[in-house]
């Protein structure tokens, strides 16, 4: 199949060999699990349990709330210790509402929903409902509730389900391992999703630096005519949804539109496997494969981890730190988030935990920009990081916005190549945050202005009504004292209070 070139991109040092050839190992069930109510984009889930409740594995303990949300399930059986504020796996180090579950060691399954025996006979709604019930979110890192994406078939005419197995981030091999070890589950999950979406074609895109995965997946897909496996060039960030779609179809997703508008829906390979589990066995998403790697980890490997296991447990399982890490990263080195500490739990979107040494990060002091233009060359979004960061530095965020800082998806290519080691992505994240703040503030101000006006009108009306009432009363009782009659009643009340 003919592929299309994508703009820019880089070829970082991948270092996938640290973990790619080791089979997935399961983490022994930790004694305590921390399940945040929000592990996804959207509204946090609503707690269904309270302190002291006994739950079984797979039991729903928090329900999705609102349209964009996902439910949470107990990763093992045990007792709810508390619903409390616990540090989130987030660079801010801020706490969030988390269900704390103490394992009883039995790992007993709850009564699960009935498997859908023939999903291809079931209607889309049934499948979506099941996916939604199972708390499945995008497992590539963005953690967008998958059921919503599976609903797109209702609104748009779709052609292709694109399964993203590019895994372009260095170090990460969890998708690679899942593809190698569970190819049939992935293909089946993909076919179920394609059925729900109504797409005739399924394309599984895998970067060419994973030849075994390509081979195994091709074999697994060979039985199904609608399913193709395509090796895509090794080029970071090939795994970005829009770029992968461009590479496969040659079509560029317009800004502020979705790939679905081009007829393509993209899901992660691990998500497909989770869908398979949910549909065929009724199992909700309670565990995921996490790559634990980096130069500071003694025994890097891929670990099947229950959601909510603390990162300390995970690192301990991998032999602990060989050297003091410079940074511990949640996700890949390019787009991952630094962790403020190791207390935070693994969540559904955690694809990797990397403990990186200073040498691996290769962070040097920032020097002045020499306008070499490398950042422009590598930017897959066609932006001008050099100019945007200069404007942000001088607090001219509106100009940076004009230049497209909101179109940046923080892939990190520009920061990676910058010879002056300017924290370009950091600038953009800052700008995006402030611009969002401003947007929020603007919305709030508009609201407040309206509120004030509404109130003024209301009070005017009330005064008017009172005056009218008074005028009506006046002829009747024309001996009433004219001055005091209009005084608001509230004053007397107040006096009573005082």
């Amino acid at each position: 199949m003919k592929l299309f070139p994508i703009r820019g991109g880089i070829h970082p040092d991948y270092r996938k060999e640290l973990t790619s050839d080791k089979a997935i190992a399961a983490l022994p069930m930790p004694a305590t699990l921390y399940i945040p109510l929000q592990q996804h984009i959207g509204a946090p889930a609503e707690v269904l349990v309270k302190e002291g409740d006994m739950v079984k594995k797979g039991q729903m303990i928090a329900r999705n709330q609102g349209t964009v949300s996902a439910s949470q399930h107990a990763p093992t059986s045990g007792r709810i210790r508390a619903v409390a504020e616990v540090t989130a796996p987030h660079p801010s180090g801020l706490p969030q509402s988390t269900i704390i579950l103490e394992s009883d060691g039995k790992d007993e399954w709850a009564e699960l929903p009935e498997p859908i025996t023939d999903p291809f006979a079931a209607d889309a709604h049934t499948i979506n409902e099941r996916v939604s019930q199972s708390g499945i979110v995008g497992m590539g890192g963005a953690a967008f509730p998958s059921a919503i994406k599976l609903n797109l078939g209702e609104q748009k005419k779709l052609d292709i389900l694109l399964l993203n197995g590019a895994e372009c981030e260095p170090y990460l091999t969890c998708d690679d391992r899942v593809m190698r070890e569970y190819p049939d589950a992935i293909v089946d999950g993909a076919r179920i999703m394609a059925h729900a979406l109504g797409t005739p074609r399924v394309i599984i895109a895998i970067e060419q630096n994973k030849p075994q995965a390509i081979e195994i997946m091709t074999k697994a897909a060979s039985a199904f005519p609608g399913v193709e496996v395509i090796g895509v060039p090794v080029q970071y960030p090939m795994g970005s949804e829009r770029h992968l779609v461009q590479a496969i179809t040659g079509r560029e997703t317009p800004a502020r539109k979705l790939t679905a508008d081009l007829g393509v829906v993209v899901h992660n390979v691990s998500t497909a496997r989770a869908v398979h589990d949910a549909v065929r066995f009724g199992r909700p998403l309670v565990a995921r494969v996490v790559t634990v790697s980096g130069g500071a980890i003694r025994e890097p490997k891929n670990v099947l981890t229950p959601i909510g296991a603390s990162i300390t447990d995970l690192v301990g399982f991998c032999g602990g730190f060989a050297v003091r890490p410079e940074s511990v990263v949640n996700g890949g080195p390019m787009m991952g988030q630094p962790l403020p500490g190791l207390d935070a739990p693994v969540v559904k979107g955690t694809s990797g935990i990397l403990a990186l040494t200073a040498g691996e990060i290769n962070d040097n002091p920032t020097s002045a920009c020499i306008r070499c233009g490398s950042c422009i060359t590598v930017c897959p979004c066609g932006l001008s990081p050099v100019d945007m960061s200069a404007f942000i530095r001088k607090d001219k965020l509106e100009v940076a916005a004009k230049l497209g800082v909101m179109d940046c998806f923080s892939c990190g290519s520009c920061s990676y190549v910058c010879p002056s080691h300017i924290p370009l992505v950091h600038y953009f994240n800052y700008a995006k945050g402030v611009l969002n703040d401003l947007e929020r503030e603007r919305q709030k101000n508009e609201r407040i202005k309206t509120l004030a006006e509404v109130r003024t009108i209301r009070i005017e009306k009330a005064t008017e009504a009172k005056r009218a009432a008074l005028a009506a009363r006046k002829p009747a009782a024309d001996s009433a004292a004219p001055g005091n009659a209009g005084e608001p009643k509230a004053t007397t009340e107040e006096k009573a209070n005082a």
């Binding site: 002045a368 200069a390 404007f391 530095r393 001088k394």
Partner: protein, 192 residues
């Protein structure tokens, strides 16, 4: 033809109004913080200079010369220029009020732009004929606009630079102008 090309190059580049003749420096330092402003000012000035140099030439040839009133040139020229600006203002307003709304602010600045008067005086000093005068006016103002836009571009860039505090603002502008003038020295001798 070649003479006209030379006249043009000489007036626009070699003896650039701003960089070699030092005319119109107020607007050069003042209205060059943004490119589109510089373009607006440049085009407005180009129009006014061209029109007023024609008018000034006519006043010179048909009023001052016959009656030997050259000593009144300063007064008459400046009034002709003021009238030309006023004329432009009214015409633009007549032609399109929205245009006027957008460009109106530049026009009053032009009356006191010494480039306009300077060009008029120069074409008298050089005893040019009508065609030369028109071309000279036009070429000079093209050179003016060119330098204005270049300067605006540079200053937009420098607004992002970490200019030392002592140099920030006007001194930096002068140094840029100095370097720009240095670059334009490369054209010297082009008309010899």
């Amino acid at each position: 033809m070649e003479a006209y090309v030379l006249l043009f190059v000489s007036a626009a580049l070699v003896n650039n109004v701003i960089l070699a003749r030092f005319l119109g420096l107020c607007s050069f330092m003042g209205v060059t913080t943004r490119i589109d402003t510089a373009v607006g000012m440049g085009l407005a000035t180009t129009f006014v200079i061209t029109v007023s140099s024609m008018a000034d030439w006519a006043v010179g040839a048909y009023l001052l010369e016959p009656y030997n009133l050259w000593y009144l040139r300063t007064v008459t020229f400046i009034m002709v220029i003021a009238a030309a600006v006023q004329f432009t203002e009214l015409t633009v307003k007549k032609v399109s009020p929205p245009l006027f709304q957008m460009l109106g602010i530049y026009l009053p600045l032009i009356t006191t732009n010494c480039a306009v008067l300077g060009v008029a005086i120069l074409l008298v000093e050089h005893k040019m004929n009508f065609i030369e005068a028109t071309l000279f006016g036009f070429a000079s103002s093209v050179g003016y606009s060119l330098v204005m836009v270049m300067m605006a571009g540079l200053r937009e860039r420098l607004a992002l630079a970490d200019v030392p505090r002592l140099f920030a603002g006007p001194p930096n502008g002068f140094i840029v102008a100095s370097l720009l003038a240095l670059a334009f020295m490369g054209f010297s001798g082009m008309t010899a």
